[in-house]
């Protein structure tokens, strides 16, 4: 085989290989959601109350502290877990006690849960308990929502926005 023919043949083989690579760089397409579905996401980062009540320090106790560490209250460092529930059309979809983060358990609790649902209208209820109470809930929202196909419907908690927000 002449050198030119070999080079031409080599080029064709290399080009075919590269073409296959180019094709596989975005084909076949991947569908992460079944057609006509949507994602409902429950996610927030929120710190619950401290585990115990803060205690006011007496003047003697404050005086005993190093000058740069003096404070008027002694508060326990750890936070309580957050209890959260999500109901969709009256059926419980998620229920969990979210522990605080951090080595000392003083960080906020966090949740990030995705639920794939058929796109339609839903009756969504979300509840959260972040205090010492053992019954009932501190924050709650109940609303009918319309979820479109492929929509990312997010349930977030933003105290500065008044509690749970749906978007």
């Amino acid at each position: 085989m002449s050198r030119t023919l070999r080079l031409a043949g080599g080029f064709i083989v290399i080009a075919a290989l590269f073409a296959a690579v180019a094709w596989l760089s975005d084909r076949p397409v991947y569908r992460q959601l079944p057609e006509g579905s949507a994602v409902m996401m429950l996610t927030f980062v929120h710190g619950a109350d401290r585990r115990g009540e803060c205690r006011k320090l007496s003047p003697e106790e404050i005086a005993k502290l190093p000058p740069n560490m003096r404070r008027v209250q002694d508060c326990p460092r750890g936070r309580r877990p957050i209890y959260v529930e999500l109901d969709v059309d009256g059926r419980n979809l998620y229920r969990a006690s979210l522990p605080p983060t951090g080595i000392a358990g003083d960080g906020p609790s966090r949740v990030y849960q995705r639920f794939v649902l058929p796109a339609r209208k839903y009756d969504v209820a979300v509840r959260m308990r972040d205090t010492a109470r053992s019954e009932g809930f501190d924050h709650e929202r109940h609303e009918a929502v319309e979820v479109a196909p492929d929509q990312l419907f997010v349930i977030d908690y933003r105290p500065e926005s008044g509690g749970f927000i749906f978007r």
Binding site: F18, W23, R31, Q32, T101
Partner: protein, 531 residues
Amino acid sequence: MIGEIRSALRIGFALIEQPFDRLFGPALNPLAQLGALGFFFFWIVAVSGIYLFIFFDTGIERAYQSVEYLTRDQWFHAGVMRSFHRYASDLMVVMVATHLLREFAHDRYRGVRWYSWFTGLPIIWLLYASGITGYWLVWDKLAQYVAVVSSELLDWLPIFGEPIARNFIATGTLTSRFFSLMVFMHIAVPLFLLFIMWVHILRISRPRVNPPRALALMSLAALVAVSIWKPALSQGPADLAVVPSPVGLDWFFLPLYPLTNIWSNGTVWALLGAFSLMIGLMPWLPPLRRAKAAEIDLAHCNGCTRCAEDCPYEAIRMVARTDGMPFPTQAEVNPSLCVSCGICVGACPSSTPFRRTQDLRTGIDLPEFSLKELRERVVEAAGRLDGPGRVLVLACEHGGGAGRLAGTVVMPCVAMAPPSLIDFILSRDLADGVAVAGCAESACYNRLGIKWTEQRFAGERDPYLRARVPRERIALIWASALAASRVEAEIAGFAARLATLSPKRLRSPLPVSASSRPARVRVPAKPGSGP
């Protein structure tokens, strides 16, 4: 089990390599240039990336628009560069994966070769980190998918206080600073990758980091053709209110991402961890039985540096003389780098079988297979040759001639045979011709054995094969272990040619010593094979 997988893969590679050898020629066979092509594609990615950065805007709104501008409006240069950037990255993954499989198939990852194998592992991680961070920058639907799944994977690790994935739940949660960070990472990670690529080849002598020019030009031309035929395009702007589905995945960089939809993120991390652990431990599963490293005999070493020059593994270095001989340097072997291939023995000018000392010694020798033993085996094998066209075969233990019995001397690498051994065989009339049967040309087990042998025989590299040695009585046969039948056919053809040649007129001026006199052993003719 591992051995069986290796054998199956070796057969698979040989089946591809043989037609590739015929089409491209051994010098241009891409399978013999995987590492060099990996470097080549890295540079293409680097240069095209710098070019694209001129047009790229790191703002949250502008990122997608700037990529669209360079893809659509400036398609003839920046668009082509974008395709170069993507496809060369994908090709780098292909090269790395094939290179890894091929080195495994040829058992070139155990023993002293553990270092190159082990340092290949961070290359895989950094290559994927480079590619994945690059996909985020386009900020199209694929970028959104990659960003969300990558963040969810990272959030599984107990590193970040607040989930990173929460950055992608709504448009307002993402800032332009995020893109600046990603650009920084997309530059820093490949730089670190380049550093590890350098570390990867540190222990190799004459690493091939550039493919042959013809192969590089063909690859570049093919990249241009593919970039024009199927330019890399965005998949519509990211919209955090919508789940990107369907999405065109890059199956080279993102094959595991769909698994996060089936398995938990922890399971995917476990899979990655298990893969890395397995790759990391493979050189010792089981460890390679290592022959003793080459040893220097200072009484025969004049510090000529040829062994150090020819060692494919940087296992020999020249150090200051220690024995008071009037030479400035002497060779020193690093046993932790020596694979006992014997190439240094073939390079040593003292390695001449003509030496008439009782105990044949050379400047550098293999303790478990010395030059003296090689000469003895040659003489013994020659004694069994008979009839017209007697061929003595010097075979590499990894090549197609390794399985031969009659008239064959097997050695770790054919470059272990000093050129003077050929002269010795022919001048002492031990055989009518010598066939040197090594590995396939594009798959030399000891990297440089074939190259050095050819250059020594051609008089281009010390030690030369003397001019008086008739070249028509030497056959070089390069074939893999799977091509044993081709080796046999070539040897038979060579023997037939030798039988037609006029008698040799090549005699050593020295009298024949007892150690080099073959004991003639007549091999009985097979029934029916003679008249």
